[in-house]
Structure formats: structure tokens, C-alpha cells
């Protein structure tokens, strides 16, 4: 494959002199990025449809069923509607920052996907410190919300932005500490190595030794993505729509895309960190392993991810919204002590070599 690519570059280099290795490198990265982002955006579109359908059925409704067969074209119709709507700028709003905010929200949400391993050897880039990259780029998403609140020149967005900034910063610490335990066991911050370290059956994945961390990570992921029951940033009953109040049309749609891309990302991260990434759950089990050997790893990864995505919708349909101070208490007084305590537990377990994981 690589030889074929090199000979292709050579061939084009003969025809077009300026087309050399570095241009080809940029080109192939671009192709990879498009191959990643296009399906991602499609999944985001149909995730919104799935959300409305799933929550509909959970509340004994039918959900969208008018556009296309069984409502399958609903996300397309929504996208068309949002694209054709007028973008309204609030008076005395800072237009540049107002337009920069959605871009700053979606750019990190997509950029993080560059290091996610989908299967053995299938990734855009294999960064040596990919987990830190995920945390670093993920922490930039908060600027989208802060700027949206500030640039809108309106009171509810500002309140929403204040809430979100403090929430995101507090829960980033919790997520960081929870993932430190994974790094301690795997002995690497490379997502590929972390997945490879979980090789084996479902009992070899890190959710077994790190069960409390997995729960904490998932709940913190709900907060990071502003999902119910922690969606105080939008909090319709209190501050109308939070940071999105002044956004209309495509600018709003971009925020929406970023939120859902982040949700899917957090689901993938949970799978990569705690549920063995692309590994089949039947690995090492005599008959089952050979029976499911034909399933490619990416299918396992996507199946596990879909489960976590469903969990998001399930939780949203089930729990009432938390109060703001309760969420803060949960972060600083419950999760943070637990994660720090568990770091010491894991350190002891790795030193004493307990169980099959260390």
C-alpha cells in the first residue's frame, strides 16, 4: 500500500514538478480528514434523529415520522431549514467574536478525532501523546461557549457562559484524574497502546479494575458535553437557552453540530479507555472467538460506541435536571476525592501486580 502510494507520488512528481513528498503528505492528510469528517457529520445528523425517536418512544410518543419513510429524512430537512434561515445579529454585539464563537466550538470537536484509533492501524495520525492531545484540544471547546455568551451582549447567554465555564473547568480536572488511572495501568498515553494493552476478552478490559473511574468518566462526560441531567448551560426553565439564545440559523446549527460531535467523541473515548477499543469481547474464549473472528475491529468499536451514545439518550429521558450548586458539589467533593483515592489504589495494585490487568 505504502509502495503504491510512493510510486504514485513519484509519477505525479514527474508530471507536475512542485508536487513532492510534503505536498503529497498534506494531500493525504486532507483526504483522511475528509474521510473522517463526512461520516462524522452524517452520524451527527442521524444522532439527532435517533435522539428524538428514542426519547419519543420512552415517553410513549412516536417522534418525527412525517418527512420521508418513517421520518428518515428529518435531519436533512432540519439541516436545510437551518441553512436557509436568516442569521440575526444582536445590536451592539461584537460581530467578529459572535461569529468566531461557533467556529471555536466546532473546530476542537472535530480536531480531536484525528487521534482516535478505529481499528488496528486505522487512524488519521498516531500521536505519541494522543491522550494528552485529546484533553488539551478538548479543553479549548469551552471558548466557544464563553465567547458566545460574552459576544452576544445579552444577559441569559452571559449567565449560561458563566455557568458553563466553571463547570467545564471543574470537570476537566475530574476527567483528567480519572484517565490518569488508565494511563497508569496501560503505561502509555498513546491511545493505540492503551487499546492494545486491553487485549483479551471482555474481562481484560479496563472497566473491571477501574469500574468507579468508568462511571465517573461517563458522568463527567455528560457534564462536559452539556447534556441532561447536567445541561444547566442551556437550562430552558431558568435561562431560556443559555449561550444559544441569540444564535439563529447556521450559527446555531454549528453549535449543535459541535455538541453532538463532542457526545460521540466522549462515547468513543469511553470505549477506547475502558472497553477495549476495537477488541472483540469474545477474544480468548474458545468457540466464540473463532465464531466472531470475521467481524472487523471497527464494527466492534462502533457497536460499543453506539451503546454509549444510546446511554446519553436514555439518561436524558430518565433524570431531572440537577441544580447548579449540586453539580459543583458532585465534582469537587465527591468525584475528585474518589478519583484521587483510586489513583493510590491503582498505584498499589500495579506495584503488587494484582489481577490480569497490571
Amino acid at each position: 500500500m505504502m509502495d503504491l502510494w510512493l510510486s504514485f507520488v513519484e509519477l505525479v512528481h514527474e508530471l507536475i514538478p512542485w508536487f513532492d513528498g510534503s505536498v503529497a503528505l498534506v494531500l493525504i492528510i486532507l483526504i483522511k480528514a475528509v474521510a473522517l469528517v463526512m461520516p462524522l457529520m452524517l452520524v451527527v445528523a442521524y444522532f439527532t434523529y435517533a435522539e428524538r425517536k428514542v426519547i419519543g418512544y420512552m415517553q410513549l410518543r412516536i417522534g418525527p415520522n412525517r418527512v420521508g419513510p418513517k421520518g428518515w429524512l428529518q435531519p436533512i430537512a432540519d439541516a436545510l431549514k437551518l441553512m436557509t434561515k436568516e442569521i440575526i445579529f444582536p445590536t451592539k454585539a461584537n460581530i467578529y467574536l459572535f461569529l468566531l464563537a461557533p467556529i471555536l466550538a466546532i473546530a476542537p470537536a472535530i480536531a480531536v478525532w484525528a487521534v482516535i484509533p478505529f481499528d488496528e492501524g486505522i487512524y488519521v495520525t498516531n500521536l505519541d501523546i494522543s491522550l494528552l492531545y485529546v484533553l488539551a484540544i478538548g479543553s479549548i471547546g469551552v471558548y466557544g461557549i464563553i465567547l458566545a455568551g460574552w459576544a452576544s451582549n445579552s444577559k441569559y447567554p452571559l449567565l449560561g457562559a458563566l455557568r458553563s465555564a466553571s463547570l467545564l473547568v471543574s470537570y476537566e480536572i475530574v476527567i483528567g484524574f480519572a484517565l490518569v488511572t488508565v494511563v497508569m495501568i496501560a503505561g502509555s498515553v498513546n491511545l493505540n497502546t492503551i487499546v492494545e494493552a486491553q487485549k483479551g476478552s471482555i474481562l481484560h478490559w479496563y472497566w473491571v479494575p477501574l469500574f468507579p473511574m468508568m462511571i465517573i468518566f461517563f458522568i463527567s462526560a455528560l457534564v462536559e458535553t452539556n447534556r441532561a441531567p447536567f445541561d444547566v448551560v442551556e437550562g430552558e426553565s431558568e435561562i431560556v437557552g443559555g449561550t444559544h439564545v441569540e444564535y439563529s440559523g447556521m450559527t446555531f446549527a454549528v453549535f449543535f453540530l459541535a455538541e453532538y460531535a463532542n457526545m460521540i467523541l466522549m462515547a468513543v473515548l469511553a470505549v477506547v479507555m475502558f472497553f477495549g477499543g476495537w477488541h472483540s469481547p469474545f477474544e480468548g474464549i474458545p468457540v466464540m472467538e473463532s465464531a466472531f473472528a470475521w467481524v472487523p475491529g471497527i464494527i466492534w468499536l462502533l457497536a460499543k460506541t453506539s451503546f454509549f451514545m444510546f446511554l446519553y439518550l436514555w439518561i436524558r429521558a430518565t433524570f431531572p435536571r440537577f441544580r447548579y450548586d449540586q453539580i459543583m458539589r458532585l465534582s469537587w467533593k465527591v468525584f475528585l476525592p474518589w478519583t484521587i483515592a483510586w489513583i493510590f489504589v491503582v498505584a498499589l495494585m500495579t506495584q503488587l501486580k494484582i489481577g490480569p490487568w497490571f
Binding site: 467574536l97 484533553l135 479543553s139 458563566l162 473547568v169 498515553v189 450548586d325
Partner: protein
């Protein structure tokens, strides 16, 4: 020109340009955003130097946390620009003096006498299996383990000191007690009073 060189000049240009824009911008929020851009450019240059751990830490700590708090403070404070501008002329001589001293120090420390190619060898390119974070961790946890631990303890003390400073007035604080709320009984909150109603007999 090599591809890496092009990248280096692009990032350096953005670094210098955004730093200047940060200094000259009148809007505090915009200044913070330009500072973030300059952090990003600096991180990119570090990545070109194969110091990816430092680069990512710069983004994670400064862009992800410190600058968020900066923006937070700028949003909460209503900075009066006219008072700032009035003091500008008064502080100008002192400021210029400090700037001159800093520039002189930087020239002395970072000049070609210390960092020229004839003094310090050009950084060597490492192979694909070179792990910057492993090398760094080796240094931190073996050679420099005591300074590292001392710095960590110092930071912890600073955190505790900061919390103690804002936690002083225990008396006026309203505190939520979850067990108390959960264990509350109806009779603790609701008092039923029977009042003799004079209209009852007339009906």
C-alpha cells in the same frame, strides 16, 4: 525550502503577529484571544522541536484553564478604560525603563554568545520510535525527583493557602447539608394549625 521550514516561518509569523496584536489591542477580551493564539503558535513551534509534551501542556494548562479564568475575570469586571489611559503617561518613563532592562537581559541571556550554532549544537532529529514524554519522565523521576517533589508540595501549599484565605468567615456562610435535607420529615417543615372557624356553624 523544506516543508518544516515553511511551517516554522508560518508559526513564527503568527506568534509575533498575535503577540503584537495582544499588546496593542484595546479590548481586553480580544487581547486574551490573541494571547491564546500566540500560545498556540508557540506550542506549534515546540512540536516542530519534538518537545510535544511541553507543547501539549502549554495548551492544556494555559489555554485550557488559565486563560479561561482570565476571560472569566474580564467578563466579571467592568474595566474603566479612561482611568487606565490617564495613568498611562505617568507610568511611561518607568515602563520604558523596565522594558529596556528586560530587553538588555534577554539579549545577554538569549544572544548568539550563549545560543549560537557554534555554542549549542543544532537539535538532532530523532527516529519515529523516540518518545519525548518517556525521556522527560525519566529525567523528572530519576535525576530531578527531589526538586520535582518539592515543587509539587509547594503548589499544594499554595492551593491550601488560597482556599484558607477565602474560607475565613465561617459565620455568614450558608451551607447545604445533604443528609439533613434527605432526613427531613414533614413535621419539621409544615406546622398544621387548627383555627376555629366562626362561619362554620352558620352553614
Amino acid at each position: 525550502m523544506e516543508f518544516e521550514q515553511i511551517l516554522f516561518y508560518v508559526f513564527s509569523f503568527w506568534f509575533v503577529a498575535s503577540s503584537l496584536a495582544m499588546i496593542f489591542s484595546r479590548n481586553a477580551a480580544k487581547a486574551v484571544l490573541f494571547l491564546i493564539l500566540s500560545f498556540f503558535s508557540a506550542a506549534s513551534i515546540w512540536i516542530l522541536l519534538e518537545a510535544e509534551f511541553l507543547a501539549i501542556t502549554l495548551i492544556l494548562v494555559y489555554v485550557g484553564a488559565v486563560m479561561v479564568l482570565f476571560l472569566f475575570v474580564i467578563k466579571m469586571l467592568n474595566i474603566d478604560k479612561s482611568t487606565l489611559r490617564a495613568k498611562f503617561a505617568g507610568y511611561l518613563p518607568l515602563g520604558l525603563m523596565v522594558a529596556a532592562v528586560i530587553i538588555a537581559e534577554m539579549v545577554l541571556v538569549l544572544g548568539s554568545a550563549q545560543f549560537g550554532l557554534d555554542v549549542v549544537a543544532a537539535p538532532v532529529r530523532h527516529g519515529a520510535d523516540y518518545s519525548n514524554i518517556t525521556v522527560l519522565a525519566m529525567q523528572l523521576y530519576t535525576t530531578y525527583v527531589y526538586p520535582f517533589e518539592l515543587a509539587a508540595v509547594l503548589l499544594l501549599i499554595a492551593i491550601i493557602a488560597a482556599i484558607t484565605l477565602v474560607h475565613r468567615n465561617e459565620i455568614n456562610r450558608k451551607k447545604q447539608s445533604i443528609p439533613e435535607q434527605v432526613n427531613v420529615q414533614a413535621k419539621d417543615r409544615v406546622r398544621l394549625v387548627s383555627i376555629a372557624s366562626p362561619n362554620k356553624e352558620k352553614k
